[in-house]
């Protein structure tokens, strides 16, 4: 008998005829790992919730979910509670909201032990401390009394995993456990999960939208689309020979960093269209404990040529978004200057003349909130025209709008819609239309595809690349996603805690990174290929607090190649044969693949 046996599962919500999960069947044996993959809306989380018995009251279910013989779907809560924590446990996606902000993390764990009478009160504290240590929280005694908001994202997720494994369950359900984390931290957490599982032979049901994560962590795989199962079987087999056409397409569309880029190199010697010269951005953080200065960006310089795509990569705390907003003039710079076509620009966007303002446009991360909910699509795209070309007649404006909508791949029947009536992909196209309608020379994309699913993401990226080929548009692409970088950039700039680590061409960066951080980041990205070499030892630790940056090179506390000098001096960005890098040991280290 399987550990978990799901047969013909269907889930529907009262008031809606369309099921969110339909006819789903799969099973998990003891000690096995199954990854459920699919895009958003596929029904993966619903399935996980059903398995745990956590569906809301208005959910109507059909079929059967059997755990070790016990039927879960119709079971009473007190029966389910006997299984929870001790036989089956769950790790949720967002550890910030999944942990109780009002209770100490130690107490939250201890409560599980006491509730299930796993041990007596005195022993419970000991066990909790032991688990905190096991999941990698340094100084467990002190961490016991800490509250969730005092921990970083990675640490919180470790606490969640610790809580889940406290009862020594046979099956661990993990719903997008690393999606909210930086890629280097993701590697740590996935490594932790692998290690803990191997120690206790716990089965794993892993939900993810990321084929790479599933490829590297699950022996079996189930692909879902629109509530239905597309394909199921051993991971290696599915990747090697998907039997379903849609599966094949999804696998092919999955962004990867190990394929060569398709961007063509640019002609040399062209004057840059944007010059960023020693720009620093700081914030005053005011709290009850007094104001402090946060240096988000520190003396950063780079250039962009017309028609070029430069990707600015970094994880949380890198300062990339602050940099983007400073370049475009939404926030003030503390020092330094930004030039457009050789002319220095005033710091704030309000002070820039209209003729210049229209040349630098931006597309934001969340497509729906970047559009005014009170305005229709046609009005949104028409507004820039009415400001920059006020003389244009209404009819001409309309034509421009329609043309632009078609240009970005939207039918003009969407003209009268409001933003909340659009899908994520459609909304982002409207945002792009709005940005491009005044024909800017530079477009900054701040995580513009991060909120979109794989296939839509691809389409948007292609749209941008096509635009670039047509009009010579320069793209500054801010992202944390290395596979996106691989796909579209000519050059890459890596940021860490407000400074540049490395600048290089796309090809060179991924083949022969020069900075240890770059290397660590690239190694951490899970590749959607089960046969790929397993990840090396992931980068340890997390980004230091921006309020208290380390002396010397900001990366040195986590760097395995650090020497004494690294903690004393800040390395400057220096040109080498293949780009620039800010590391004292760049010449000695060979970090290539």
């Amino acid at each position: 008998m399987s550990l978990l046996d799901v047969k013909d599962l269907s889930i529907r919500y009262a008031g809606s005829a369309k099921p969110v999960v339909n006819d789903l069947s799969f099973s998990i044996e003891a000690g096995q790992s199954l990854g459920i993959v699919g895009e958003s809306g596929a029904g993966k989380t619903q399935t996980a919730m059903a398995v745990m018995g956590l569906l809301p009251a208005n959910a109507v279910t059909g079929g059967s979910i059997r755990f070790d013989g016990q039927e879960f779907l119709s079971a009473a809560p007190d029966i389910l509670n006997r299984y929870r924590a001790r036989r089956i446990a769950m790790v949720f996606q967002d550890p910030m909201t999944a942990l109780n902000p009002y209770v100490m993390i130690g107490d939250q764990l201890r409560r599980i032990l006491l509730e299930h009478k796993i041990c007596k009160s005195a022993e419970a504290r000991e066990r909790t401390l032991a688990m905190l240590q096991r999941v990698g929280l340094p100084d467990a005694e002190r961490q016991y009394g800490v509250f969730p908001h005092q921990l970083s994202g990675g640490m919180r997720q470790r606490v969640m995993i610790g809580a889940a494994l406290l009862g020594e369950p046979d099956l661990l359900v993990a719903d997008e456990p690393t999606t909210a984390l930086d890629v280097t931290v993701q590697a740590q957490i996935l490594g932790l999960l692998r290690e803990l599982r191997s120690q206790s032979n716990t089965a794993l049901l892993l939900i993810s939208h990321d084929l790479g994560v599933v490829a590297g962590n699950c022996e079996h795989m189930l692909m879902m689309d629109n509530g239905r199962m597309l394909e199921e079987g051993p991971t290696q087999e599915i990747f090697a020979a998907p039997s379903n056409e849609r599966t094949a397409r999804l696998i092919a569309a999955a962004p990867r960093i190990d394929v060569p880029t398709k961007t063509t190199p640019l002609p040399a010697g062209v004057a840059p269209i944007i010059e960023v010269d020693k720009v620093s951005v700081s914030f005053r953080e005011g709290r009850a404990s007094g104001k402090r200065q946060l240096d988000a960006v520190r003396s950063l310089s780079f250039t962009v040529a017309p028609g070029e795509t430069i990707a600015i990569v970094g994880e949380s705390g890198s300062g990339k978004t602050s940099l983007a907003r400073a370049i475009v003039g939404l926030i003030p710079m503390r020092s330094g200057a930004v030039s457009y076509a050789g002319k220095k620009l005033p710091g704030l966007v309000q002070s820039r003349p209209n003729a210049i303002r229209r040349q630098l446009q931006m597309v934001f991360q969340d497509p729906v909130t970047s559009l005014n909910p009170a305005m229709r699509v046609a009005e949104i795209v028409a507004e820039p025209i009415s400001i920059h070309e006020p003389k244009k007649k209404k009819a001409e404006q309309e034509q421009d709008v329609n043309q632009m909508l078609r240009h970005v791949g939207l039918g003009i029947e969407l003209r009268e819609r409001y933003p909340h009536e659009l899908s994520g992909g459609q909304a982002q196209r409207v945002a792009i239309a709005r940005a491009l309608v005044v024909r800017p020379k530079v477009l900054i994309c701040d995580e513009a595809v991060a909120a979109l699913d794989g296939t839509i993401q691809s389409e948007i990226l292609h749209l941008l690349q096509a635009e670039q080929a047509d009009t010579g548009l320069a793209l500054i692409f801010i992202t944390h996603d290395l596979s996106v970088v691989r796909q579209i950039s000519h050059r890459v700039l890596v940021m860490y805690m407000g400074r540049v680590c490395e600048v290089a061409t796309n090809e060179r960066m991924f083949k022969r990174p020069q900075h240890p951080y770059t290397k660590a980041m690239i190694s951490s990205v899970p590749v959607p290929d089960p046969g790929a070499k397993p990840a090396e030892v992931p980068l340890a630790g997390e980004v230091s607090s921006i309020l208290n940056p380390p002396a010397g090179c900001p990366f040195h506390p986590r760097c395995q190649h650090a020497v004494a000098r690294c903690s004393e001096q800040v390395p400057e960005l220096e040109s080498t044969a293949s780009g620039s890098v800010a590391c004292f040991r760049a010449n000695e280290l060979d970090l290539g693949y």
């Binding site: 956590l54 446990a89 109780n100 009850a288």
Partner: protein
């Protein structure tokens, strides 16, 4: 945390001063003087009276004199009740009003929380709808409607309780006024508690607790109760303000010689010092309570306590 506390305490003082200044200004800006209602007096006697009461000084001077008196606990003489100082009048009336107010607050808190929690835990059931409906009525029907109706029903028709302050025993004559005063607050608190608890019960961290196999009573006790009660703490300031306002009506209807009654009489008699004194007492009470609430919040909410 200490800084937070100090800032709050220091911040309360200007507020109090502002209130005193505003009230002072308004009272003195009124056309006519405190003695206008009486017989018209010959000018020399008017001057004498003015000097005796320091009304001939400039406004800022009078204000400073008043503040000085405040610090010493002297709220000035009553313009109406010549034999008494304002402090004495307030001293007599305050304990009664406090008794009413405190009992009403306690009743409101206990009944409100009980009702709110019951409704939240049996969401959308008949009990829940009943409680919600009654609460809605409670906040919609004003005190000056409820109180007389209660008197009509319980005193006049049923003869269970006395209709006014002068009849009946100590306990029995407290019942109607306290209940009438507490009713709107019970309703607000019940609604607030219900909404807050429902919000907490549908939060992600409660979902985690369920996933961890905790039974409902454990979830409430160890995970939900504290976060659900915090918004209630913030409401205590407005609750007190509401009770003070309501007490004016209740004292009027039941004929209770409390601060509310004196305020109305003072207002109608243009007894400026009395009005001023009562306003200051009320404001001090409310501001102090808000301060205590703020400090408690700082202690109880870990996100503020540990930066």
């Amino acid at each position: 945390m200490l800084r937070y506390a100090l800032l709050r305490i220091i911040g309360a003082i200007p507020t109090l001063l502002l209130v005193i200044a505003l009230a002072f200004l308004m009272v003195h800006a009124a056309p006519g003087g405190p003695f206008d209602a009486e017989r018209v007096l010959p000018p020399e006697i008017e001057e004498n009276i003015a000097r005796a009461y320091n009304l001939d000084e400039s406004l800022p001077q009078q204000f400073l004199r008043y503040l000085g008196g405040l610090v010493r606990g002297d709220l000035g003489p009553s313009y109406r009740y010549r034999d008494y100082t304002v402090a004495e009048l307030i001293g007599n009336a305050l304990p009664l009003s406090m008794q009413l107010g405190v009992l009403a607050m306690l009743l409101a808190i206990v009944a409100g929380i009980a009702a709110g929690l019951t409704a939240a835990l049996s969401k959308n059931s008949f009990v829940d709808r009943l409680v919600t409906g009654i609460a809605m009525t409670g906040i919609s029907v004003p005190v000056f409607v409820v109180a007389p109706v209660m008197v009509l029903v319980f005193a006049v028709y049923l003869h269970w309780l006395p209709a006014s302050w002068t009849g009946g025993t100590d306990i029995s004559r407290l019942v109607l006024p306290v209940v009438a005063l507490a009713l709107p607050q019970i309703a607000y608190i019940a609604r607030l508690t219900r909404a807050s608890m429902i919000g907490v019960l549908s939060s992600d961290y409660v979902r985690t607790a369920r996933a961890q196999g905790l039974k409902t009573s454990s979830i409430i006790r160890y995970h939900a109760l504290k976060p659900a009660m915090l918004p209630l703490l913030s409401y205590m300031g407005p609750a007190l303000a509401g009770i003070l306002t309501g007490s004016v009506v209740v004292e009027q209807i039941f004929g209770i010689p409390g601060l509310g009654q004196f305020f109305i009489r003072g207002a109608l008699n243009r007894d400026y010092t009395l009005i001023l004194g009562i306003v200051i007492v009320y404001a001090t009470l409310v501001i102090s309570l808000n301060l205590v609430v703020d400090l408690l919040y700082g202690i109880l909410d870990p996100r503020i306590r540990r930066q």
